[in-house]
């Protein structure tokens, strides 16, 4: 019962804040609504006993990426931004398409076959020492080592690319 109440709270706030993110005229307010949104997503992760993901959600998304968003938005000329139209002309068409898509997806969702039940149930995670974070670490460095290394190589390429782009070209 308590779990349902919390889920309902998180779900309602997530939907409301997502709408506020795109509906606010002031981009700084949008970023702040998004901050609230990220905290509620972290709350959902906590309900699933995924405390590591919840902490990472706050540290990476709220703490680093959103601060960079805010940094860029703060440098905009807000007086001009607020005067403009909040929504583009195809707003109505886009809304109809989005609602249609939501109806199609939610009605066909039940037809999808359920995935296989893995060994990492909530009881198993609770019983492990160190909990969620230790299991994620173990799985990532044993079963999924290769995809993990590929992802880190791609990130490394992106970092080096950013440095090359940002660095002043030296005359040879």
């Amino acid at each position: 019962m308590l779990a349902e109440i919390f889920f309902a709270y998180f779900a309602v706030v997530i939907v409301l804040t997502s709408i506020l993110v795109i509906a606010s005229r002031n981009p700084v307010h949008s970023v702040l609504w998004m901050l609230l949104l990220f905290f509620h997503i972290a709350g959902l992760y906590l309900m699933l006993d995924a405390e590591f993901l919840a902490a990472i959600q706050i540290i990476i998304y709220a703490g680093a990426i959103l601060v960079l968003f805010l940094f860029v938005v703060l440098l905009l000329n807000l007086k001009e931004e607020i005067k403009g139209r909040p929504f583009s002309r195809i707003f109505v068409i886009a809304l109809v398409l989005a609602i249609g898509m939501a109806v199609v997806i939610s009605s066909t969702m039940k037809l999808l076959p359920p995935g296989p039940v893995g060994q990492y149930s909530m009881d198993m995670i609770r019983a492990t020492k160190g909990g969620n974070s230790s299991i994620i670490g173990r799985v990532m460095y044993t079963e999924f080592l290769f995809p993990f290394e590929i992802a880190s190589t791609i990130l490394l390429v992106a970092i080096i690319g950013a440095i090359v782009l940002a660095k002043k070209r030296l005359r040879s």
């Binding site: 700084v28 902490a55 709220a62 703490g63 680093a64 805010l70 703060l74 160190g130």
Partner: protein, 337 residues
């Protein structure tokens, strides 16, 4: 079945007692933190005064010991001024965000064996998450005040906090690797097996990086560029007055106490000491924290403020590589032993 029977079940009483104990712990910790902040300001003014061959506050009470109470009363009754064209809701909420972020970090820190408000498995990550939330209070207060000085202070702070958060997080990775846990109580217990019951000796590099990054995270001298009073008047909180200014002040000092507490529990063995002090289980923890607080003031009285480019190159070119080196060394040492 009446509605009372559905609400009051056999275990309801136990749950209520548990909630009561948690609330009591919160009240104790917050009250202790507030008291410490009050006297941290007094101690700062006195110790820096003596370092600069002055006396510091002397008027209110003997040797000025009642000065923090007088300051607090004054701040409470001052007018709460809002600048014209400020973004009111954001202006109101900014100091609250700062204070909440600083206070909630206290909830996962163990003060002595078995005394912690929330003994969670991701304690260290929770503290990092709260310190990144604290940056929002500073950035949006700078923006919402609609003033050049506070805006510049806010921008400087956002760049500084992002840069030093990486170094701070990486410097704690060595501790996590040695303890094999993110739970702060486990980290303190794991240190008992090491010389002097501290991690500061095997984690020398991490400790150094953590201390420098911690001073930068709390925006204290010599990294107090966001509030550089000689260039920006007071930085991000220029336009704040009265109780909202007091909230920023509180969150800065609680931030200092939190960073000192993390340094003590992660690197200096927390509540354990060379011998046990009877009846006062938190005595060693407090002594170590007071030393770090004094260390903050000592540095403030000694070093001049960094220039902005020096601050950035120190963070990115020295501290982050050192923290990475520390992780590599810790990993190799752990494999060899």
């Amino acid at each position: 079945m009446s509605i009372f029977e559905t609400i009051i079940q056999p275990d309801t009483f136990d749950v209520l007692i548990k909630i009561g104990i948690i609330l009591l712990k919160i009240v104790i910790v917050v009250a202790a933190a507030m008291l410490h902040v009050m006297y941290a300001t007094y101690f700062e003014r006195k110790s820096i005064g003596h370092m600069q061959v002055r006396l510091g506050p002397m008027e209110v009470g003997p040797h000025g010991v009642l000065q923090p109470i007088a300051d607090g009363v004054k701040l409470f009754f001052k007018e709460d001024i809002i600048p014209a064209d400020a973004d009111k809701p954001v202006f109101y909420i900014a100091p609250v965000i700062s204070l909440v972020a600083a206070l909630s970090s206290l909830s996962v820190i163990p003060f002595f064996k078995g005394f912690v408000i929330a003994n969670i498995n991701i304690g260290l990550l929770f503290i990092l998450a709260m310190s990144s939330l604290g940056a929002y209070g500073i950035i949006i207060s700078g923006w919402a005040s609609n003033s050049k000085y506070s805006f510049l202070g806010g921008l400087r702070s956002s760049a500084q906090v992002i840069s030093y958060e990486i170094a701070m997080g990486l410097s704690l990775v060595g501790v996590m690797m040695m303890a094999g846990s993110l739970n702060i109580s486990d980290i303190v217990n794991a240190q008992a097996a090491y010389p002097l019951r501290v991690y500061a000796i095997p984690q020398m590099l991490g400790f150094f990086v953590f201390m420098v990054a911690g001073i930068a995270e709390t925006n204290r001298a010599p990294f107090d560029l966001p509030e550089a009073e000689s260039e920006l008047v007071a930085g991000y909180f220029v336009e704040y007055s009265g109780i909202r200014f007091a909230m920023f002040y509180l969150s800065e000092y609680i931030g200092m106490i939190v960073i000192s507490l993390i340094a003590v529990v992660c690197f200096l063995g927390g509540w354990s000491g060379p011998f046990d002090i009877p009846y006062v289980p938190f005595a060693w923890l407090l002594l170590k924290v007071y030393f770090f607080i004094f260390f903050y003031y000592w540095i403030r009285a000694t070093l001049p403020r960094y220039r902005y480019d020096q601050l950035m190159s120190l963070g990115w070119k020295l501290l982050i590589p050192l923290a990475l080196l520390n992780i590599v060394i810790t990993g190799i040492a752990k494999l060899m032993l």
